[in-house]
Amino acid sequence: MGDALLEVEALAAGYGEVQVLWGVSLAAPRGRLTTLVGANGAGKTTTLKALVGTIAPWGGRVVFQGDDVTRLPAHAKAARGLVLVPEGRQLFSAMTVEENLEMGAFSRRGAHKYANSLERVFTLFPRLKERRRQKAGTFSGGEQQMLAIARGLMTDPELLIIDELSLGLAPVVVYQLFGTLKTLKDAGLTILLVEQNVHLAFAVSDHAYVIAEGRLFTEGPPAALAAMPEIRQAYLGL
């Protein structure tokens, strides 16, 4: 995969004494939307945390834009454009929309392009512009997810990683957010998405990885995977 923006090789990680990942490998090719799916506890979020550096990997390699970034702290990875929109949004709820967006542009990388990025996210999400002085904590779940994505975009990412896009959101909001993803992808952004709804993930992605019990279970183009009984097996064991 010569065109991979991100390559993860045999990533191992865990918490305390408990090992969760036993060697996950995946790649995110430039300009593509790649998804990572798997049942609860399969290790999706742990994979993302270990690759962006919010937890330290126990083993394996993370190569980003040709550089080995495995041991870099999360902020150094973000400064290179490896950006995570975390599960559950993790907004600064007492801060306004605009303040949250400023936090996204905290790094030199983001600060440099602040005005451009702000215009870009306000074009993508006019609702955020209307409510720029409103506190994030007063937003609905869907609006919070928009803001979380917008905050990630303010970092000026090369790779935008989104953990659980549709979780807990109403269908109408989900369609809107997936529409936004498509817009971002068409504009050339590389995206790695973790999504609990397998059908949605497969519907939008160019390539999908299925993990189960901390290991890669299968991978391939979504159209091929969708028909596989192995997918149910990865989730339900039978």
Partner: protein, 250 residues
């Protein structure tokens, strides 16, 4: 088959969250019943309701025909119902043997020390920790601590054992070994109610499966039945209608 544990209409709310809703099912003697469901389905809450960590808002828990609803955990243990915890809870500074003796002393039979030691040693043999009896619990590996958790519960001489994710964090060899241990415990006449995310393991181990989703029972039956149940597949893989509508909308 006789119902050893009978759960009837159990409900528990935390603030506005309905963690468990009108849940009913039974565990029979010598049965291995698997409890599965997405995160937040209410599985661990259910364990806490059964063994008395929380009192339910509604419903009854009957064990061997006796109503034990809302009884304190130490009393529930005396009825012959023991549990392990998802996050292992060893008495870290005590030896493996002493940990197991605690289980024996405060279990079904409230054994005196000398007798408790005999029972504790037996339990350690069942789980394969007989070579580590004098080791401080803190020195065991995670797999060892999981085994100790099991041994301490077993030393209580339960008739029903509640196992909360005893396979999580184990490698494939350790998982295989633990499954063998769980089977051998059942062979000794103990019924087992087990929560597990390692699906291949629980599907192979369980006689029956109960699937929880949002605090309610979504399905109940043989492993192959529930794995093919459309409602269960949707709970795990997501609603296919969402993707269809996304396609239709362009």
């Amino acid at each position: 088959m006789t119902a050893l544990l009978d759960i009837e209409g159990l409900s528990k709310n935390f603030g506005g969250v309905r963690a468990v809703q009108r849940l009913s099912f039974a565990v029979h003697e010598r049965e291995i019943l698997g409890l599965i469901g997405p995160n937040g389905a209410g599985k661990s809450t259910l364990f806490n309701l059964i063994n008395g960590v929380f009192a339910p808002d509604e419903g009854r828990v009957r064990f061997r025909g006796i109503d034990i609803t809302g009884e304190a955990p130490y009393r529930v243990a005396r009825h012959g119902l023991a549990r392990t915890h998802q996050i292992v809870q060893p008495l870290a500074n005590m030896s493996v043997l002493d940990n197991c003796m605690v289980g024996a002393c405060f279990g079904r039979e409230n054994l005196p020390l000398a007798r408790a030691e005999v029972v504790a040693r037996e339990a350690a043999v069942v789980v394969g920790l007989e070579d580590r009896l004098s080791a401080p619990a803190a020195q065991l590996t995670i797999a060892g601590k999981k085994r100790l958790e099991l041994a301490r519960a077993l030393a209580a001489r339960p008739m029903l054992l509640l196992l909360d994710e005893v396979l999580a964090g184990l490698n494939p060899t350790e998982i295989e070994r633990m499954i063998g241990t769980i089977r051998s415990i059942r062979e000794r006449g103990v019924a087992i109610l087990i929560i597990e995310h390692v699906m291949q393991a629980i599907m192979g181990l369980s006689d029956r499966i109960v699937v929880l989703n949002s605090g309610q029972k979504l399905a109940e039956g043989a492993p192959a039945e529930v794995a093919n149940d459309p409602g269960v597949i949707e709970a795990y893989l997501g609603d296919p209608a969402l993707a269809a509508a996304l396609h239709a909308g362009g």
